[in-house]
């Protein structure tokens, strides 16, 4: 099986991959929902950070605990925990981000029946000196709690190694993204989706090797791609759990060449310094990385970032892809849209749940939007 095929297979059945790991290896697996989860510390503890994306199944048990206006990520994640589909997890990690994730943490602790549970109560306003100190303290606490919970010692050496591995993964993902942006006909949008999804669930030590192979393969065949006449589109929002989005946009005459997603560039952006205190270095990456709307780094930083991406990647139009009922992204939308309007960049708002809205409607929106682009 070639590397891409392998990553695709993991992404299409992440639970199967995890169960296989559980049956054949002693590495504990810890679930998490968001890219503020310090994966380096989990990796240094000899565990696998395993991202959760909601469920593909009907939601019924979770609704006994959560209102129907919670997003499908939170409801779906809880559903899978309550039905035992996540019983390969030794525990879960909840960084402080949006309200729903915080409350999910409490509900999870009481009902999911997992051996381990961690909260990492990160600061919200990331621009102050006190936020920096607080961030470092929280990450150090997480390190000790993880040591206790898993019965291991996390040495500075192990942290350096994990920081290096995660840096390498981020660097390779960045290369692959840039490759796709420059040669869209050589690597499909849905493949980017599968690569990212696999990257967030696989054993990072194995992943880094596979990504290096994939990058070598791509470099070998790159450079000969004829340019396509498709319109260049950027996805902006939280998580994307729907590979079909990429295909539907391609059918309509566009292609997603870049994103500002939690499951996309925000995941691999920035680098952890590999010298000095390793936990401080992790904190610094979180402080310098582009924020999600649940964090604050200045009034206009997200708009400026989006405008910069549009310029750098020669984007024709921006599709805001939000999970329905996602408050933080909903709150930031009017300001981001106004920012794009001022720049003359057409936008489309799409709110989705686990299942895509009726396909006909979606095609109509995408076709009209792509027609609008110059």
């Amino acid at each position: 099986m070639d590397t891409l095929e392998n990553l695709r297979a993991v992404a299409q059945d992440p639970y199967g991959y995890a169960r296989n790991i559980q049956a054949t290896e002693s590495k504990p697996i810890l679930g998490y929902f968001c890219s503020y989860t310090p994966e380096e510390i989990i990796t240094a503890a000899g565990a696998i950070p395993f991202r959760l994306f909601g469920t593909r199944e009907d939601i019924s048990r979770a609704d006994a605990h959560l209102q129907s206006y919670c997003c499908s990520l939170v409801r779906g994640g809880l559903e899978d925990a309550l039905t035992g589909r996540l019983n390969f997890l030794k525990g879960a990690v909840f960084p402080h981000t949006c309200d729903s994730i915080q409350r999910l943490s409490d509900i999870w602790r009481l009902n999911a029946g997992m051996a381990l549970h961690f909260d990492a109560v990160l600061p919200v306003k990331l621009t102050t000196e006190s936020a920096r100190n607080y961030m470092i303290a929280v990450l150090n606490d997480f390190r000790s709690e993880l040591e206790q919970g898993l019965g291991v010692t996390i040495s500075d050496e192990a942290l350096y190694k994990a920081n290096h591995t995660c840096n390498r993964i981020r660097e390779l993902l960045g290369h692959i993204y840039a490759f796709r942006s420059q040669n869209p006909s050589q690597l499909k949008g849905s493949d980017i989706y599968y690569i990212m999804k696999a990257a967030m669930v696989m054993d990072r030590e194995v992943l880094v090797e596979q990504l290096a192979h994939l990058w070598a393969d791509l470099r070998e065949k790159g450079g000969e791609a004829p340019p396509t006449d498709r319109k260049r589109v950027l996805l902006s929002g939280g998580i994307c759990t729907l590979p079909d989005i990429y295909t539907l946009i391609e059918d309509a005459g566009g292609e997603v060449v870049w994103d500002d997603l939690c499951t996309g560039t925000r995941y691999f952006e920035g680098e952890v310094r590999e010298t000095g205190d390793p936990v401080e270095a992790i904190a610094e990456r979180y402080l310098s990385r582009m924020v999600c709307p649940a964090k604050h780094k200045g009034m206009s930083v997200r708009g400026e970032h989006l405008s910069r991406l549009v310029r750098e990647q020669q984007i024709g139009g921006v599709i805001f892809l939000f999970l329905k009922f996602c408050e933080p992204h909903g709150f930031d939308y009017p300001y981001l849209k106004a920012c794009m309007d001022r720049a003359g960049v057409p936008t489309l708002l799409l709110e989705v749940e686990e299942q895509l809205p009726a396909e006909g409607q979606l095609r109509t929106r995408f076709e009209t939007f792509i027609d609008m682009l110059e």
Partner: protein, 257 residues
């Protein structure tokens, strides 16, 4: 150049034939169960009344939710783009279109050339659509064609607070049980539809002048309620319901064959 546009909507199928930007004729039929058949049939019926043959049509664009079932079309273009082109043709001043059809409602901002600049569509939900009005007309045993006129007679519109069509229907039934007048309930229903659509319109940003298209534009009550909510006057053309088909026929003219 003689061109045709076919707009296969969820409730009705529309066709228009244009000759060098003059409307030669239009036709509306029910879509029914078979969208593919409706697309063929509405054009055939129109050609028959015009005493024309299929060969006379030099270019044809299909639009509407059933556009992909029209297998003899030269091209398919979304109804949003077509409504933009159609409204611009009917009145070049128009900058904003509210298209309320059977299955969904759309708001479209266009530029001075009739090109779509921004748009929004309601989600998979019947609130704020022609279907919502149909359901309510049934609950009130009223004739949909008279809905608008009844609205104008209302003195004190009832408040319908539910956004969901199913819940709103039961709310209407409770209002009937309470003895609320039919006029007031019907006015309340129109205001509820207008509230949904104006929220959608404000998201895109209303630019004046505004035109309403689609089947619901025939309902004077819906137009009036929307005018109140948006605080602007709304133009309605006699071709409101076939506007999408006209736009499609216009865009067919621009195809390189």
């Amino acid at each position: 150049m003689i061109t045709a546009g076919i707009d296969v909507g969820s409730i009705t199928a529309k066709a228009a034939v244009l000759d060098a930007a003059n409307i030669v004729g239009t036709k509306i039929i029910s879509t029914g169960y078979d969208a593919k058949k409706a697309g063929r049939s509405v054009l055939d019926q129109l050609l028959e009344t015009l005493d024309m043959a299929a060969q006379d049509i030099q270019a044809l664009v299909a639009t509407g939710y059933g556009r992909n079932t029209v297998d003899f079309a030269d091209k398919t273009i979304t109804e949003i783009t077509c409504h933009g082109a159609g409204a611009h043709f009917l009145n070049p001043d128009i900058r904003f279109i509210i298209d309320v059809g059977g299955q969904d409602s759309k708001v479209i901002r266009i530029n001075e050339a009739g090109k779509v600049m921004d748009f929004a569509m309601n989600d998979k939900c019947a609130a704020g659509t022609g279907r919502f009005l149909e359901v309510m007309a049934r609950a009130l045993e009223a004739d949909l064609d008279q809905f608008g006129d009844i609205f104008l007679k209302a003195e004190n519109p009832a408040k319908i607070s539910s956004v969901c069509t199913v819940f709103a229907e039961s709310e209407v039934i409770s209002l009937i049980a309470k003895g609320e007048s039919r006029e007031n309930i019907i006015a309340g229903i129109h205001e509820s539809v207008a509230a949904r659509i104006s929220a959608l319109a404000k998201r895109v940003g209303v630019a004046e002048p505004v035109m309403m298209t689609g089947g619901v534009a025939k309902n004077i009550g819906a137009v009036k309620a929307l005018e109140d909510k948006l605080e602007t006057s709304i133009r309605v053309s006699e071709f409101a319901q076939v506007n999408g088909a006209i736009g499609a026929a216009l865009l067919a003219e621009r195809l390189n064959r």
